[in-house]
Symmetry: C2
């Protein structure tokens, strides 16, 4: 970490109120943080949330922006069945944002970290042309991690929660989609306050054989594609089985486009040997679970009872699909 | 990590040629990387290099830009006396840069990683308005880490290498300073190809009591200030003792301004109980070492035989000093 004066003062203020757990030997303020050696293999992931690409400042409160930046990382830990431990935060800041804005952003980030048992052990602030929050998140996995390459023909495919709500909220906020009342509020909230399915991921990882899993960050169709590619299998998805919220149906009817390729759901997709009931899984994982299809021999995903997306979904290099 | 199609293809190509050591259980391509549990306490740091703030694309080759982004992180590991292990890379890319550019950038990054024994275990690519490379670097520290808060009145202050060259190179590249011939080439090279003092840091950390240390990324005066603040001590620095290169002297004569506050040296500053000889230390650490002053009671740094900088040095929030 580098600490120029303005930056030093800012990061010192932002990190001053962060409490640290016993695993942190040395927290923010030195060249590196020092963390006690973990007992289990370590998970590492990095993700970034960039103003003008993923969000606009007015779309959520500063607290929500901070919490959201952490949650999208925690979702990657959840997808491996891991327990999040420590993270480091790089903040690219631009002119026009107040000290109060960053205090609130860090308050939201800190609260989300505490709720997930995460220590924010270091930070770096740099000037940029847009606000960007990049977080490297570490975690532990007690048993075997849930990998993308473990799906097997015959496996049944499940997802947690409902799909497409956040993509809908994003479009409402961006002025690309109109919605009213409670449905509007619901989908916007799903975008603003995603949930990393950490407990569900940890419980899933105890199932034997360990399920193949991925988190749905770029849209079901695309993330399913990554899992299929890594596992060298295909899939048949049943369009009527896709879990759509009441708000989604109210806004889009039966059009599953955003549920298939909208992105930013942060739900888990996982594959189990045949026979598990979605109902029993819902109870076991503490979140609604829907069976949406089956893994097949061959390659690629086929949609039964609906039109497959023309392209994969959210592409951070091209913008939303 | 999230992998939209364009991004997925790009990161897959960029990381395909990265070889992984045995500590990597699962490399790039899943939601997280999995790394074997380290045996020693772990170091974690994050740093970012942003186009238009820290560099311009034309100022160095893509390979140098990639290597440099890693080196500034490795310097933080060096300042703790650590051994770098794994890193994750977040690349914010903008329009107008070719696939070849990123291949070359990653080739430079990969070569620097191999040279330092670092595994690049994960990556993420996002769109942005400027090219930015953010790296979270992990390391191990076998004994006690060198901290900023361990300086003691009476300690002698040393630095490795020479100071101010890189800041001079930066100014030459930015058109703010004129220089010619070999001196110009030397200072530009010092900016383009910084060296993380990893071996020197590891050897220093074996000295007892463990020295206080910091890397000089934001200018001697400012980084010294951080060390003094954390150690609750003062310092007396002797201006004539500052190690200036022949190229520096040729361009700036005896004006030590950039050596004091230029930034981006990535040399180590460390404090030892009195009596060590700079000559013996140079041999022991494998790099030139100069004694530049002494730790005192009280607070703040005082410059003997020269004018102290008016402000701290490189401020990433304001721009170069």
């Amino acid at each position: 970490m580098s600490y120029p004066p303005g930056e030093f003062a800012l990061i010192a203020r932002l990190t001053a109120r962060l409490s640290q757990s016993r695993r942190v030997v040395l927290g923010p303020g030195d060249d590196c943080a020092v963390v006690a050696a973990p007992r289990a293999p370590q998970l590492v992931t990095i993700d970034s949330m960039v103003e003008g690409v993923h969000f606009e400042v007015g779309w959520a409160s500063p607290e929500e922006i901070g919490a959201r930046a952490l949650t999208v990382n925690l979702s990657d830990i959840a997808a491996m069945g891991g327990l999040p431990t420590v993270c480091v935060v790089n903040l690219a800041i631009r002119a026009g944002l107040s000290a109060r804005f960053f205090d609130r952003l860090y308050a939201g980030l800190g609260a989300a970290a505490r709720a997930a048992g995460v220590d924010i052990v270091g930070g770096n602030v740099t000037r940029g042309t847009a606000l960007a929050i990049t977080i490297a998140q570490m975690g532990e996995v007690r048993g075997a991690p849930m990998r993308r390459d473990a799906a097997w023909p015959g496996d049944e495919i499940f997802v947690t929660g409902t799909l497409g709500d956040a993509a809908m909220g994003w479009r409402v906020l961006a002025g690309k989609l109109r919605a009213r009342g409670a449905a509007r509020k619901f989908v916007i909230d799903r975008w603003r306050n995603p949930i990393a399915r950490l407990a569900a991921g940890q419980r899933l990882a105890r199932i034997r054989p360990v399920p193949a899993a991925i988190d749905i960050s770029d849209g079901l169709w695309q993330d399913l594609g990554h899992l299929l590619e890594r596992s060298a299998v295909g899939a048949r998805i049943e369009a009527p089985a896709l879990p759509l919220s009441a708000a989604y149906r109210q806004i889009a009817g039966d059009d599953a486009t955003l549920a298939l390729s909208g992105g930013e759901d942060y739900e888990l997709l996982f594959c189990l040997r045949p026979g598990a009931s979605a109902r029993a899984l819902s109870r076991r994982l503490g979140v609604a679970v829907a069976r949406i299809g089956v893994i097949t021999r061959g390659a690629g995903a086929h949609l039964i009872g609906g039109a497959a997306p023309r392209h994969g979904g959210w592409d951070q290099l091209r913008g939303p699909g």
